[in-house]
């Protein structure tokens, strides 16, 4: 379980998170939604240990994020892999650090995602880069999987492949996935829980199905309403 207790984080004068309390349930897919600048990427970076909170604490199973990196697979929005590596070299590099690397799954996913081991990361299309990042994350049987805008700027067919890969390999009950995106419609059918962030604050948190039942609206509409009231 990942917990944020009174977490605040600012970058210069920009307040990214303003004292938030969030619990990301174990074994579920959580949608971290909100407009750009809401604090979603910052939240994921705090979990991965790339940032430290100014106030409050972030705990992963009761431990500091810096001690939990081995259990976390992180897919950032930016291209963070070495452009001179090809896919095989990148896989070899990443797998050297994690005991949960599944070589068999890696070889199954390659053709499924239409990727070739010889492809050089600096020379492939945006969609192929997105799939490569996903490949390297999901070839690990990690406890936590954090995806920051995994579908943005990706063509429809590639999106389908990405969503299919996520569903196929999701170990429900054991693995926790957090998908951060501003395009809720894309992943509505996929999430168990939702956390809506707006300008560093939590607008809404809860079980997706329960919210649908209570409000008779899709998550997209629920968010629109939540933000209308906020403004």
């Amino acid at each position: 379980m990942i917990e944020f207790k009174g977490v605040a984080k600012s970058f210069g004068r920009t307040v990214a998170l303003d004292g938030v309390d969030i619990t990301f349930a174990t074994g579920k897919i959580t949608g971290l939604f909100g407009p750009n600048g809401a604090g979603k990427s910052t939240s994921l970076k705090l979990i991965t240990g790339l940032n430290r909170p100014d106030r409050g604490e972030v705990m992963i199973d009761g431990k500091d994020p810096l001690d939990s990196k081995v259990e976390v697979a992180y897919l950032p929005e930016i291209d963070h892999l070495y452009p001179w590596m090809n896919i095989r070299q990148a896989a070899s590099f990443v797998s050297s650090f994690y005991g949960d690397w599944d070589e068999k799954r890696y070889h199954e996913l390659l053709p499924f995602l239409n990727l070739d081991e010889e492809m050089k990361l600096g020379k492939i299309s945006k969609g192929q880069r997105a799939k490569t990042k996903l490949l390297l994350c999901t070839s690990r049987r990690s406890k936590y999987l954090l995806l920051d805008e995994p579908l943005s700027g990706i063509d429809i067919l590639t999106r389908e492949q990405i969503i299919q890969t996520l569903i196929r390999d999701f170990r429900e009950g054991e693995q926790s996935i957090i998908i951060s995106t501003h395009e809720i419609a894309e992943v509505e059918g996929l999430v168990d829980e939702v956390v809506f962030l707006d300008r560093g604050r939590v607008r809404l948190q809860g079980d997706a199905e329960q919210l649908r039942e209570e409000r008779g609206m899709s998550l997209v509409d629920i968010m629109k309403e939540a933000f209308r009231y906020a403004n």
Partner: protein, 260 residues
């Protein structure tokens, strides 16, 4: 089951060496080029023609790793691969340590290739060189006796490189703590650290001089060669210790202060 530290070290070290590949190739290629040129122009004049390019190449081989230290660390930020590095389950010590190891490897490879190239051509004339050196200094030293001195000089150059690289890492990391003017701040910290460390080293040298066990101006030592050996040895140790301290500070900065 987590992967072994050795596996992680190899992966990082291999990656760093691959980044340094162009620089290493340049030095090796130029050494080969010089050798080939000498071969093409072989004759008694070859030895004299060799000296200048070999010296220049030696300087390059020695200087490139220091320059590369800025590329190895700085590039992680400019290509965003720092996101990958910082999310890996490894300590800052291993991240900076593998970069240091790769840079030292680059230095060793480059300088030893150049030395090998030089020796290959010069070795028939070595007795001649030794004799003229002896004639100049009025001593009777044999070739073999020069070797420890040369080895010690090389060791000194290695500790000097370690020192420069540690200052480079520290100043770059501190520069990264600031969102603006980080180039200027890196430069300032670099110069300031050199100045501070220089002062620290002068302090420790004077301490050694006044310490009875290290009295290098004492009457006990026989030749200038032995004096030089002790002098180089003490300096190597001092550079090593100061460099190690600066590395520790760098590691602490990386662990506790660096963010994305």
């Amino acid at each position: 089951m987590p992967t072994s530290n050795w596996q992680r070290f190899s992966a990082l070290y291999g990656k760093e060496m691959r980044e340094l590949r162009p620089e290493i190739i340049i030095v090796v290629a130029m050494a080969v080029l010089i050798c080939l040129t000498m071969y093409a122009k072989s004759g008694t004049d070859a030895r004299d023609l060799l000296i200048v390019p070999i010296f220049l190449l030696m300087g390059l081989a020695g200087f490139l790793p220091f320059v590369a230290s800025f590329k190895l660390l700085g590039r992680e930020w400019s290509t965003n691969t720092i996101y990958l590095i910082m999310s890996l389950p490894v300590r800052g010590g291993m991240i900076l340590g593998t970069k240091l190891a790769a840079l030292i490897s680059q230095y060793l490879l480059g300088t030893l290739v150049v030395i090998a190239a030089a020796l290959f051509w010069v070795h028939p004339h070595l007795p001649e060189i030794v004799n003229s050196l002896n004639a100049m200094t009025g001593s009777q030293t044999k070739l073999v006796q020069f070797i420890p001195g040369i080895a010690m000089a090389y060791l000194l150059s290695l500790t000097w490189l370690f020192y420069l690289i540690s200052v480079s890492f520290l100043s770059q990391l501190i520069g990264k703590l600031f969102t603006r003017f980080n180039g200027v701040i890196t430069l300032i910290v670099f110069l300031a650290t050199l100045a501070f460390a220089g002062w620290l080293m002068d302090l420790s040298r004077s301490f050694c001089q006044f310490s009875s066990s290290f009295n290098i101006l004492g009457p006990g030592l026989q030749s200038s060669l032995q004096q030089a050996m002790v002098f180089m040895g003490v300096n190597s140790a001092i550079y090593f210790v100061v460099a190690a301290l600066i590395m520790v500070v760098s590691i602490l900065v990386y662990r506790y202060r660096i963010e994305l």
